[in-house]
């Protein structure tokens, strides 16, 4: 998509102000965002119990003076780096320092506001905390993008991030923050939901790959079939997810009622079976379409060369065409996996389990903490899947060239 040799002229203002240090405009925007979060919005909200509306508290109201000043000083230093430094690793380090300080401040605020052995009081992260975290996260993301890390480095960064978060949570640093309180109450259900969420999204993806790859190859070989198959799969995509879940409940329920074997393997009208089937149906289009597109990308000359070398048609397909098409196929798989992880949350409506159980439970009880307990892991899961598969696609795409 990028056009080589097409570069835009540098703004005139940059050349004029050579004497003064140039202020990074992105940094200025992020500093404003972070400052607004820190000074204009509540850092935490204090709730006498989990459902009552929160009472907003600023950082200075909660922490001792020295701690508040330390926090502000660190964040001011981060702002200085962001405004005047161009060095990307330095900016990343500043962003990480800011995130650590903000997180520590949240944990300290929660500990300070919670009386000892009180399990009813809730201290939730406020809008100010989230805005500050967003500004720092954007800063880190920008620094990482500017460093242009290779696929391996990106996976390592992701692993380091997940490891650090996991370790902090395991140590109980945030145990007095309301989301973790909600987790403590629901720990057993959380483990079940996590397992179900991953199983549903990966299982339906696996089944879809097994069906879509041959279907895509077939469509490539018989071009007459392509428009028909692709538009049929396209139409499935237009049916809204809750409707497709609901529509599939009836035939699966009938199947379970009339075929004892189906009931014995766990197929029911409600629950995981209609969810898995619906996710499978949604997964078909991206993989089939990308398999066709990937095979089309292989030049006829390459195929002819393989055949000329004495390879059979089958060998050519397996060790030339599919290998060359793999990055495009994987891009389709990436789309499906990220989409499935999001859609599984909806499956909770028909008893399919997964993190959506907490989200819908939270909507029903007007408990934001419970919504977050479902939403945060879903986002982390989808984000990790996207980073991992993007890295894999890039790695594979680089090899043949």
């Amino acid at each position: 998509m990028s056009t080589p040799g097409f570069s835009l002229p540098r703004p005139a203002s940059a050349q004029q102000s050579a004497a003064l240090p140039r202020v990074d405009r992105l940094g200025a925007l992020l500093t404003l965002l972070g400052a607004a979060g820190l000074f204009l919005l509540p850092f935490v909200t204090f709730k006498a119990n989990r459902i009552l509306p929160g009472d907003p508290r600023g950082l200075a109201q909660v922490l001792p003076v020295w701690a508040t000043c330390g926090c502000w000083a660190t964040l001011a230093a981060v702002a200085a780096v962001v405004l005047f430094a161009v060095n990307a690793p330095l900016r990343l380090a500043a962003a990480l320092a800011g995130i650590v300080v903000t997180g520590t401040a949240l944990a300290a605020a929660a500990n300070a506001l919670t009386p000892a052995h009180n399990l009813i009081v809730r201290v939730a992260a406020g809008a100010g905390f989230w805005l500050l975290l967003a500004a720092l996260g954007l800063l880190a993301a920008d620094a990482i993008t500017r460093m242009r890390p290779g696929p391996g480095t990106r996976v390592l960064l992701l692993a380091a991030f997940l490891g650090a978060v996991g370790l902090t949570l395991a140590q109980g640093t945030f145990d007095n923050v309301s989301v973790m309180r909600e987790y403590a109450v629901n720990a057993a259900a959380f483990a079940v939901a996590a397992r179900q969420h991953i199983l549903l999204s990966l299982g339906s993806l696996g089944a879809a790959v097994i069906v879509s790859l041959p279907l895509g190859i077939f469509c490539h070989r018989v071009p007459r079939l392509q428009p028909g198959v692709l538009s049929a799969l396209n139409i499935i995509q237009t049916i809204p997810s809750i409707a497709l879940f609901g529509i599939l409940m009836a035939p699966l329920g009938a199947l379970a009622a009339h075929v004892p074997l189906a009931a014995a393997v766990g197929i029911r009208g409600i629950g995981a079976a209609p969810a898995a089937l619906a996710l499978f149906l949604y997964s078909l289009l991206p993989i089939v379409a990308n398999t066709v597109a990937g095979l089309k990308r292989v030049s006829p000359a390459t195929v002819e060369a393989a055949l000329g070398m004495g390879m059979t048609r089958r060998q050519t397909l397996m060790s030339v065409e599919l290998v060359l098409a793999l990055p495009v196929v994987l891009t389709g798989i990436r789309i499906v996996l990220v989409q499935n992880i999001g859609l599984v949350t909806v499956a909770a409506l028909i008893g399919g389990g997964g993190f959506g159980t907490f989200v819908f439970g939270g909507i029903g009880q007007a408990a934001t903490d419970l919504v977050l307990l479902g939403a945060i892991p879903t986002v982390v899961l989808a984000f990790s899947a996207a980073v991992l598969l993007d890295a894999l696609v890039e790695r594979l795409d680089r090899v043949p060239q």
């Binding site: 405009r25 992105l26 993008t145 139409i235 997810s241 859609l343 409506l349 989200v359 986002v379």
Partner: protein
């Protein structure tokens, strides 16, 4: 003599309108699905009004996405905004990993139940395809065309309005089409937080175990998405014909 594809589209539109305006005529079709004397046609609200508010929510959210995404796309492809390009791309694609249900649920404590959380979620979801396509469309304008425009004495603003945007328009429209179709489906989720729309019919069906309702809501929404997709595609073809450069 109209082409068969046009006839098919008109028939689909007619079917959708007929179903929304006089749903009771379709009762015999859905009766086998409504078990145990349940009503075969949704009877807790006017389907026509629900469809209209569904469409209104989607269009309003989409209008917001178009304004913001196109403005942002123009900004990051200008000389002064280039430093924002990598980050805005990262942000918009990170936003896409947020499940819509989570956005809806988190918006409720901020803006209350009803249409507002749905509008916020749809607006955010519509941004990515439009932004991405605007950026690609503007960045792939042939350099020779831009040089020619400068050579004719056009200002940067004139170049943008009368050269770059018209050339990028087919791609921008494709982005709009994608986000419209996705959002017609996603809007049904809004009914879990009490937004008026066709999702209400589906949810009522799920709650009362009435497949007839689920199917009605699902088919009406699907048909609406297909028709809208086609309408924008037709608009796209028209504009492409006008803006063709070879």
């Amino acid at each position: 003599m109209p082409r068969p594809a046009t006839l098919l589209r008109l028939a689909a539109l007619g079917l959708l309108l007929a179903f929304l305006l006089v749903p009771q005529r379709f009762a015999p079709l859905f009766a086998p699905l409504a078990a145990g004397g349940a009503p075969p046609i949704y009877d807790q609200g006017n389907l026509w009004m629900l469809a209209l508010s569904h469409l209104a929510t989607v269009l309003a959210a989409c209008l917001g996405s178009i304004v913001i995404a196109v403005a942002l796309g123009i900004l990051v492809t200008r000389a002064g905004g280039q430093e924002f390009l990598p980050l805005s791309r990262a942000v918009v694609s990170f936003g896409q990993t947020f499940p819509p249900v989570a956005v809806l649920a988190l918006a409720v404590p901020l803006v209350g139940f009803g249409e507002k959380p749905t509008l916020i979620a749809l607006f955010l979801y519509g941004l990515l395809p439009i932004f991405e396509n605007t950026v690609v469309g503007l960045r792939t304008c042939p350099a020779t065309v831009l040089d020619a425009a400068s050579g004719m004495g056009m200002s940067a603003r004139q170049k943008l309005v009368s050269v770059e945007l018209p050339l990028a328009m087919p791609l921008i429209l494709e982005g709009i089409r994608l986000s419209l179709v996705i959002n017609i489906g996603t809007a049904t989720l809004g009914s879990t937080v009490a937004a008026k729309g066709l999702g209400e019919v589906i949810i009522a069906g799920l709650l009362s175990n009435n497949t007839a309702f689920v199917l009605q809501g699902g088919l009406a929404t699907g048909l609406m998405a297909v028709l809208l997709y086609d309408a924008v595609a037709a608009l796209e073809r028209r504009l492409c014909r006008n803006a063709r450069i070879d």
